[in-house]
Symmetry: C2
Subunit: 569 residues, 2 copies
Amino acid sequence: MAETDQALPPSDQLAAMNLTDTVEKHAFSDRVLIRSIVGRPDGGAGLAGQRVRAGGWVKTGREQGKGTFAFLELNDGSCPANLQVIVDAGLAVLSKLVATGTCVVVDGILKVPPEGTRQKIELRVEKVVSVGEVDPAKYPIPKTKLTLEFLRDHLHLRARTNTIAAIARIRNALAFATHSFFQEHNFLYVHTPILTTSDCEGAGEMFQVTTLISESEKLEKELIKNPPPSEVDIEAARQVVSERGEAVKQLKAAKASKLEITASVAELNKAKENLSKLEERSKLKPGIPKKDGKIDYTQDFFARQAFLTVSGQLQVETYACAVSNVYTFGPTFRAEHSHTSRHLAEFWMVEPEIAFADLQDDMNCAEAYVKYMCNWLLDKCLDDMQFMAKSYDKGCIDRLRMVASIPFVRISYTEAVELLEEAVKGGKKFENEVKWGIDLASEHERYLTEVKFQKPVIVYNYPKGIKAFYMRLNDDLKTVAAMDVLVPKVGELIGGSQREERYEVIRERILEVGLPLEPYEWYLDLRRYGTVEHCGFGLGFERMILFATGIENIRDVIPFPRYPGRADL
Amino acid sequence: MAETDQALPPSDQLAAMNLTDTVEKHAFSDRVLIRSIVGRPDGGAGLAGQRVRAGGWVKTGREQGKGTFAFLELNDGSCPANLQVIVDAGLAVLSKLVATGTCVVVDGILKVPPEGTRQKIELRVEKVVSVGEVDPAKYPIPKTKLTLEFLRDHLHLRARTNTIAAIARIRNALAFATHSFFQEHNFLYVHTPILTTSDCEGAGEMFQVTTLISESEKLEKELIKNPPPSEVDIEAARQVVSERGEAVKQLKAAKASKLEITASVAELNKAKENLSKLEERSKLKPGIPKKDGKIDYTQDFFARQAFLTVSGQLQVETYACAVSNVYTFGPTFRAEHSHTSRHLAEFWMVEPEIAFADLQDDMNCAEAYVKYMCNWLLDKCLDDMQFMAKSYDKGCIDRLRMVASIPFVRISYTEAVELLEEAVKGGKKFENEVKWGIDLASEHERYLTEVKFQKPVIVYNYPKGIKAFYMRLNDDLKTVAAMDVLVPKVGELIGGSQREERYEVIRERILEVGLPLEPYEWYLDLRRYGTVEHCGFGLGFERMILFATGIENIRDVIPFPRYPGRADL
């Protein structure tokens, strides 16, 4: 390999290099990030001559030159691009390095490859530090091209593929963009509870959380190992109590010594205690505890029925009505048997809530937030977005640019219905009938944003009959101050509203929709005491990733998808 | 109020003011944040003469000057300081403004108050825009001084108190510091699942998540409304089938027309369908579905038993072994009946995982992360920290400064035990015996960090017998590469380890601790295919807040605490 050493820049050239042209070591590892080499604008060319330690997994590898050296495409997940690594046969058994999925750590020197190659830089290995081998015959994902559906059966390995790794980086970027946006605008991040005893809106199928089943199984096992006392055992214990009682009586009658009496009373008490323990145990019954024919939830962990949250909105309102601007960002749950490409049983939601603000402010915030995320991806994830554009959705980058730059159309629900009716008159066929009062179906939303306007659309002021009780009643008494943000590719991305802050009105609305008041007393308190105009919205985080990447199935944009019948790992 | 108008700076003075001395309006509201006035280094004095709209809740209010005007201390949660607001009687019914908890929005002009007052600025109201009244006789938290224990019974209102609001801001700051730290160091935020079918470490009491109970209750109700068919109903349906079958036969025998036969066959099929529906329904039994005497989890939502996660570590390792540097930050759960001031059933954990890194790297990362959070609070939350120092823990700011600046002590477990044994010899009394092999108790940890070193201590290389199977076995075969970070005030803040990356060794360890291999096959795959040296740790987020603020009870540093018997809202 002597000839390649000659490609090294002479030391004066090295010295002339910009000092910033040193590869940064990872702060908590002795290797460099591959992105800090190949992710540079010059593709890493300016780093020629540097000695680095790199680690990663082999994307593709091949032996060359009749087995005298090997080319490895190495990736460590820090960026979509690989580092080309060249290993001489003298340094390692090359056949153990080339299989897809092999993990290698190598020391080497960065060199400019011969002209005509795609890479701007390659790593000439001087030492193979460690190898995590792969038997390609057994490796579940030995190829680089595998369907997303196939990968769903290998959740623990799928992040090693280009697609799932790119989605992970985009998801990470959108999460941090979310925090950055709200922090910049003085919102406080509030952790609303996952376990809840409130059923938001009385809607939606909820997962129940309990320890009753495990407790009852524990008891069942215990009772098999150590059966409860029989009536005979208890009778015998009763007999002992009565005998001991008799003994005490006799000693007292015989005016025995205090010492003797005390000892005898102690014996009696022991016998009584034993009896009461046996009686207690005899009451134990296997199975979930019941009272009056119903499950006795006072014996459950929280002393009442508990569920997984479907939304943190109601709870986060308690913070908005105290510290003004807040948001939640956390997992939410629906126990719906939906087998579609748009539903998950566990998904992440972003829910800001703004005090001293109305529906206009809400729309402004939603629009600014979506634009911010689009700009963030264009700024910080362009390489990953280019990968998505190349592999999945060639329009995805243009879509981000469009949404980031164009003002969102804002139309009332009534206008939206008129536009849809016009479309029907013009020959457009919808599966769901269009008339004032309907909940807009996905096909209607997609028509408005993808066909009619070809840009994001905010629809506001919906009929109260199709919306939740907490949305503010408009002066027309027919509509509420709700708004949905519709975007091309996914339709509804955001749903929000100004909240009803008037005590009498919201109380009436709760009753009107047939809900009981009692569970909402705490929520009503927010209106009883120091009520404030406020609004908020919810963004389905996975929908935002679908919108950004063009990926079709929501199961592929969350690391560990949960849906009916599946919760792997 | 003519005299106060004279305090207005003349217009030329106004013009001479620095242009940056304009109060910034909140981006999504027409009011200003109170922090943007009183949170300035000059206390807001430089803003005199500006007209602003402010909104907030009254902390304290009083009528003055025989009811001619009122002083209100207004707070909107943006900072611990209040804005002093002065309202003339002509503008509103003053008695409706002064109750603690009242929400007011006012327009006014900022003025420098008379000399000798604490405030640097006050707001002279020109218009009362809106009022959310409070009846102090009914308001659950009418006073400003209430115990934290009392407030736990009013979760929905407690964020309106100075303490809970300050904790909310500190918690928010630490959460964003966490994201900023890991993002700056190129870690990807990975959302590990809340619902899991893996039981991490086989340890810890887990909450079960199920739809079996609600499904069985739904069925029960349905069967009452619409009882299952009786044996007589089914016999009758069978009879119909046989009659229809006979009819078909006769028509065929009689060589009836095709039309007649087809119609008759259709009738037969309808009867058969009805019979099979009835038979199906007759099998429905109320109660949780069972098979072979056990609960039939194949009928549960995920077709198997599911739980709430106790840690995202094992799952996030799948990402570390693919994209190198990752972290989780999310809720975790323990169904333990702990009634202590240090345990919650739902709490938040930060769990980074680093590939190509060993125990030293792990300790470096943990130390850098804790220091980063301390510096962040000192930089961005000093006013809240001053409030905590004044009200709860006078040493809390010094503690942050110390931890931010002093290198953490690092000692092996063996050294730690020797130091504890020395202390015992010197007369120190511990409740738990000290000898090599024990799990360090809280009292031991507190002694090391608070008494012996009086600074953060990292203890590493623990006996394998007291640690989890996934921690890397050291060459001595007696200890594992684990580490705990101990800090004054709370003891253990972080627990971490280098993970066992050697397939044969970890397989042996799983068996050694008595766990089955099958549920860990996916975890073993990470070692079978392209294994990598890696490490990670977990930080209990609420513990970090306790450490920072000096608050004693963990139930006060999470917005919605969940513990045995309680899950309000």
